[in-house]
Symmetry: C2
Subunit: 246 residues, 2 copies
DNA sequence: AGATCGAAAAGATCTAACCTATTTGTATTA
DNA sequence: TAATACAAATAGGTTAGATCTTTTCGATCT
């Protein structure tokens, strides 16, 4: 039985950050599932046994399971227990799931799939943005672009400006679900980009491409915006593949 | 204080189906948030007060909140309480969120956004499917199409076959995230379709379009597949708009 | 007066112990 | 043999209370 004494630090039962306990457990189990350590169809140990094993209360464990279940990773029923769901039920585009996936080096196939999806969605978003952008949108994009040019992509400020530029484009497309989709993918992929730039300094100047995209949106030319965004994603993919195969 | 006596049925504290209590509470609150009854920024009553109000234990209530929080609808912190998140943090493409949204007559703008996204994604998926389909994929599509022709879209069997046809196409595209995206959108939109067919019998024969799509995929012609799928989504949108404005 | 530190309060967070409901396999019975 | 009743396993749900975090507010010191 677990003893609670003041002199030992029991606040981090699992290797985790400053999250709450249920969040830590959810993350750890989520990563374990996404990395394949628990496979679809596997039955987890019973609530009591597993929560004791993890050194958390049953309540905290159950809240963690609720989180995973909300994201489609597990399903639990009385008598049967809690089992890992089939991959087709996972909400692969959930921001947390993407984050957890990238926490343990995702498969190349998955990264390719994500870029394929970006290649479908982002050019279309750029085209919509070119058709619908307001003056405020253009100002935001212009400002971000300027910041980006000043700091370069090797600094945190520069990358933040890059993000802001792309976010501004997305929001100019005026489509909630599309924004939700693209932003979570972009955020996830950005981490590999950071990782990438750590190994090799950036291989080419990204500014001309970004400026061309901006010009197309200013001009209100959807097809030009689509073309330039396609090119941007293609280059990002090329960079990422280069980083994955050093 | 709450009394538990045997002679009253307390199994459905909220108007709900056969879900577990935490699921019912999550659904009810989720619908309330998505329909705008609780607005972003609103602070929910404290755990104790709210759970008593809902006639459930604090534990069940907390598990419900974990579910909503996992989907980005709410955020809770000590001292501040639990508040409804900004709309930009909602996981609009989560299957449950879509379901809850369609439970209380979504806005026309939202439906338009969804079709816009379908129009972007599904033709691209069809093109990929045409390039990558295997013999097994073709067999599944062919069989579904046959079933669909036999039963017609006004029967449950026919609609199931239609679903199976589209699912087979998606899976032939061999892209996990793309499948997750399209299938949840399609499922949500299908409900409006069912609703639609209840009012008016189907306005035209959908089989020729479906067959053309099938032929393009059999022929391995991505561009033809893209064109025909675009047409299919366009018609679905037209039907839906007709149903929304009777 | 202003800055700094500490105590208090409010809320979620976490624990523990216990009871209930659901499901499914199995033995019993018609 | 088929329907039915029982039993066991497991998640689901309740309660009461202790703990941790964060913010606010006030007292003290400069």
């Amino acid at each position: 039985m677990r003893q609670l004494r003041g002199h030992e630090d029991i606040r981090l039962p699992l290797a985790s950050g400053s999250r709450r306990i249920h969040g830590s457990v959810a993350r750890d189990l989520g990563v374990a599932i996404l990395s394949g350590r628990y496979a679809p169809g596997d039955v987890l140990p019973g609530e009591i046994e597993f929560s004791e094993q993890l050194k958390v209360s049953r309540t905290a464990y159950r809240e963690a399971i609720r989180i995973l279940s909300a994201k489609g990773l597990v399903e639990s029923r009385p008598r049967t227990g809690t089992r890992v769901s089939q991959r087709s039920r996972w909400n692969l585009l959930d921001p947390d799931i993407l984050a957890w996936t990238f926490e343990s080096e995702p498969s190349e196939a998955f990264i390719r799939d994500l870029f394929e999806l970006r290649m479908i969605v982002e050019p279309a978003a750029a085209a919509l943005a070119a058709a619908r952008r307001s003056g405020v949108d253009l100002a935001r994009m212009g400002h971000s672009l300027e910041e980006m040019g000043r700091h370069g992509l090797s600094t945190d400020d520069g990358r933040a400006a890059d993000q802001a530029f792309h976010t501004a484009i997305l929001e100019a497309a005026r489509n909630g679900p599309l924004i939700a989709l693209s932003s979570s993918i972009a955020a996830a992929v950005t981490w590999t980009t950071i990782f990438k730039h750590r190994r090799q300094s950036l291989p080419r100047n990204p500014m001309p491409d970004h400026r061309a995209l901006y010009e197309a949106i200013v001009a209100g030319d959807p097809e030009a915006a689509r073309r330039t965004m396609t090119e941007l994603v293609r280059l990002a993919l090329a960079d990422t593949e280069l980083a994955l195969r050093p």
